[in-house]
Amino acid sequence: MTSTSTHPTQPGRSADGGARGVAVELTGLRRSYGDVHALDDLTLRLAPGELVALLGPSGCGKTTALRCLAGLEDPDEGRIEVDGRDLTRVPTNKRDLGMVFQAYSLFPHMTARQNVEFGLQLRRQPGQQRRSRAAEMLELVGLSTQADRYAHQMSGGQQQRVALARALAIEPQVLLLDEPLSALDAKVRVQLRDEIRRIQLEVGTTTLFVTHDQEEALAVADRVGVMRGGRLEQIASPEELYSRPVNDFVADFVGVTNRLHGQSHGTTATVLGASIPLLPGSAPEGAATVLVRPEHLTVALDPAGPGTVLSASFLGAHGRVVVDPGGAGQQVIVQVPSGSVADFAPGATVTLRPTGDPALAVAGTDG
């Protein structure tokens, strides 16, 4: 799991250097549907021009948070501020926010150009100015040649590009992306997510991106917030979130994690017979489950080793070896160079060792 995010432009500044984004602040948001608390005292701040991704399992409240910011849901409690202005009870159409939806949302009876011009017409922009802005936006998303096509004449990726152009055409204060890539196939998804990041950096609009795809979140966001049960578990840069999760939920949810039995000594832990440093927030002394990433383990063939290889897979850039470390049926995933995958035949005996990178320990042992 790696983040491919590059930040050639400082958040909050457009490519031409001008500050375009605004600050967004959600404070103490609560929203319930009967007994279900979709948002439970959610507080979130976005710096001007920042792209924040909200990540979490289904039902964690990420979409509800975005819809509250959009004005499509009313929070039961809490406050929503954009650029210092209280928008909590302002209707959606007065909020000046652009939104791209998970479902294809182009107006079917309009061409791509008419879709992009729609918001500008509502703002009573003169025809010539409107047409030129629509052309500029379609150019930005690489669809200037498709301007006269209707939604049904475009692919899913193209439709989402037009939806992005339509949302950006009105120069919104904040751009809201509600899982815009989830209906697309894998290749288009990667292409479009990089494009979204490029465009966001170019226009400098503060952006909230909701997704359940961790790779997507880590790849495009300045910061990623992991949500569970309507709360933010952790919000941090992708690198920090991955390497220093604050709890086992975040560690488990972001990337692949092995849960290994170990012994915590406060700042270090003994696991697989070796000592490794512990991250802040780890369990105090005692038996613990240590959360170790696959790339923070090494595996070596050892005829007298306690572990047994269960399977080995070639995954392209790297390989994956699944090991039972002590014959107890536990499965540990180890990342290995792709060239050495063939060395680990199922049934081979091996020794596992941690690389010494810090890990998180949680109290108690699984099972």
């Binding site: 959009a70 159409n93 652009g98 939806f101 479902a103 949302s105 107006f107 079917p108 009105i170």
Partner: protein
């Protein structure tokens, strides 16, 4: 194997032709009989006298004043019924779909209820209501449109429901709202254009039903086209039947005209679109 398939295809073709022929006979024979009856004189000789008399609208209006009044009333009733039905149903159904999906079943039940109530029973129920309608608005036949809206509700509901199911109303309206559109703009510029086929179908059904309605108008002692034909039939059967045939042709012309005018931007023919909507209602109509 291919021989069996060819034989099955031949049988299907034959069956199709039999069904089409029977349908043509079923619908065409009465019309042909009407034409036959109106083109014979008392001695059985072929004549165009009845149709010539009907073509002279000024003279026939003077001779049968009820016919003129009934014709004008039916046209007015059709227009007002369509307008009231659309104004009532389209926003309500859209709103229920967007904001009160739990009420969908109830609205459907209410809209389909008139199917189960015979017109005669409806009249009994509406009599006290129409006493007030007459008191406030007068006794003009045009106010029968309120009763006709109730009559067309089940058919119009089905047509509009199929249209609403074919588009993602929630996402489209939310997208429009996020771009700055108020609810009026959402309805007029986003929802309605995408419901064009459904609105047309609902309107066709309303027009067809209104132009053919007799029971309620007769029982309320109002004169529409059907009542006028009934009254003329008592004194001149040939004119009455000729008017009946003409009104059928007129209804077809109106429906086709509505279809062409309302569906100009669609590449599909009016019949194809009507068939498509009534067949599934789920297929997405594209602009």
């Amino acid at each position: 194997m291919s021989g069996q398939r060819a034989s099955m295809r031949r049988r299907q073709d034959l069956f199709r032709w039999v069904v089409v022929s029977l349908s043509l006979v079923f619908f065409g024979l009465p019309l042909f009989s009407m034409l036959e009856f109106t083109t014979r004189d008392a001695q059985g000789h072929r004549t165009g006298a009845t149709w010539s008399a009907l073509a002279d609208f000024g003279a026939i209006s003077t001779r049968y004043p009820d016919l003129r009044a009934g014709f004008i009333a039916s046209i007015g009733l059709a227009v007002l019924t369509v307008v009231v039905m659309l104004v009532l149903l389209v926003p309500t159904m859209t709103w229920v779909r967007l904001r009160l999906p739990g009420l969908g079943r109830t609205v459907e039940f209410i809209c389909l209820l008139p199917l189960t109530v015979p017109a005669i029973v409806l009249v009994v129920g509406l009599t006290p209501v129409y006493a007030w309608v007459t008191y406030f608005l007068g006794g003009n036949a045009i106010w029968l449109s309120f009763a006709y809206v109730v009559l067309v509700l089940p058919y119009a509901y089905r047509a509009l429901d199929a249209g609403l199911r074919a588009i993602d109303v929630r996402t489209l309206s939310e997208a429009a709202r996020s771009l700055g559109a108020g609810w009026g703009t959402v309805m007029l510029r986003v929802i309605l254009p995408n419901l064009r086929t459904a609105v047309l179908s609902a309107s066709f059904l309303a027009v067809a039903l209104t132009l053919g309605e007799f029971t309620i108008a007769n029982l309320f002692s109002r004169t529409n086209l059907q009542v006028a034909m009934y009254l003329i039939g008592k004194s001149d059967a040939q004119i009455s039947v000729a008017v009946g045939l003409a009104s059928l042709v007129f209804a077809f012309v109106i429906l086709f005209a509505m279809s062409f005018v309302g569906g100009q931007r669609s590449s599909a023919s009016p019949l194809t679109r009507l068939n498509r909507l009534t067949r599934s209602g789920r297929r997405k109509e594209t602009a």
